[in-house]
């Protein structure tokens, strides 16, 4: 494995991290990483923080419903 670490932001979604061994959150907890790519939550509503669990899409769906804009333009 290379030691290279990269971060790829997904529009409206998580930050993909490659090559990291652990992620330390603000409370000092260290989360070890055991897969090649992980998705870091950016909406802060995930139930699996710090990892993305797809909640951002449920939030966006709710927002679209509220705006009455479900069908494509």
């Amino acid at each position: 494995m290379t030691a290279r670490v990269s971060a790829t932001p997904c529009p409206g979604g998580p930050l993909l991290l490659r090559g990291v061994e652990e992620v330390e959150t603000a409370d000092g907890t260290v989360h070890s990483v055991d897969r090649p790519v992980v998705a870091l939550c950016r909406c802060e509503r995930s139930q699996r923080l710090p990892w993305c669990d797809g909640t951002h899409r449920a939030l966006a769906r709710g927002a679209r419903r509220t705006a009455g804009d479900v069908a494509p333009a």
Binding site: V38, C52, P72
Partner: protein
Amino acid sequence: MVIPPARGPLTASLFAALVDGTPLAHTDLLTRLDGDGVLSDDDLQLALWVCYALHYESVDGVPDDREWDLDVLAFRQALEERFLAALHDLAAEVVDDWAHREGDVGDRLFALTDSVEGPSLSRHLHRHGDVVQLRELLAHRSAYNLRESDPQALALPRLDGPAKVALAELLFDEFGAGRPERLHSTLFAEAMVAAGLDPRYGGLLDRLPGTTLAITNAMNLFHLRRSLLPASLGHFGAFEATSSEPSRRLAAAARRLDLPPAVAAYFDEHVEADAVHEQLMFRAVCAPVAASGPDAETGVFFGAAACLLLEARAGQALLDAWTSGESSLLPAADDEQLAS
């Protein structure tokens, strides 16, 4: 695997051809089948499923060379033509809504996925479902998950550049990320055993209806044909993009119902894994392939729409059965219960 009992003229003819080399006269058999019914036909979908299984492993009593028997391939192709036509009819409206529009392909694929309102099996099981229903869900999913990501691996040699690298990265994760005990197909088999189900490939085939088998058959149809590569990738993307949230609810359901930990563990693994995989598939694999030409873009959206609409039909059949207090599985031939 063991060949299941035939359930109609198509499977009867196919199984006889596979075992004894009896000539396959498919033209007469197919006249009764057309249109929408193809998508849920128990006989046709089982025949297709077994045709595809020949490419993955030995079938008891069937010579291995039958995999490339020209009569069997011609039979399969005749079934596939009808299946593919029905899938195009099913998906046409959704494809028209989302392909070739303004905006980023990845964004539109996510929007398409969120626009198809399927019945939520995971919501039902999370709140109300019982152990029998969760076990039935595992039984239905065994048509694919005992070979999780095997069909999708066939796309790898047909890609190049960044899309190939992204798919390889995803598949490495699906195939255990270097740890055999983390193979997703193995985790699924362990969940089945923990739930008291037969974990052998094809072991529950005789209980699975056409609507369920159609999901795996669409994957194999798309992945085995190079001309359908864009559809195979769109299908995989939509499959991954409808996994993370439901898996979270199914893991919770398994814990609420006190099933052994291997069941929740399987779904837990897919919450975080598929939140990554959906991004990789839609943005790093599907988007560059769609950018290669208008037909490729149509194909990607077709595959995604076909996946979601087939899942919706299959899911509705399960919910309808459960709402009526019935089993979603076909009756067992010998009155055996699902429990092993």
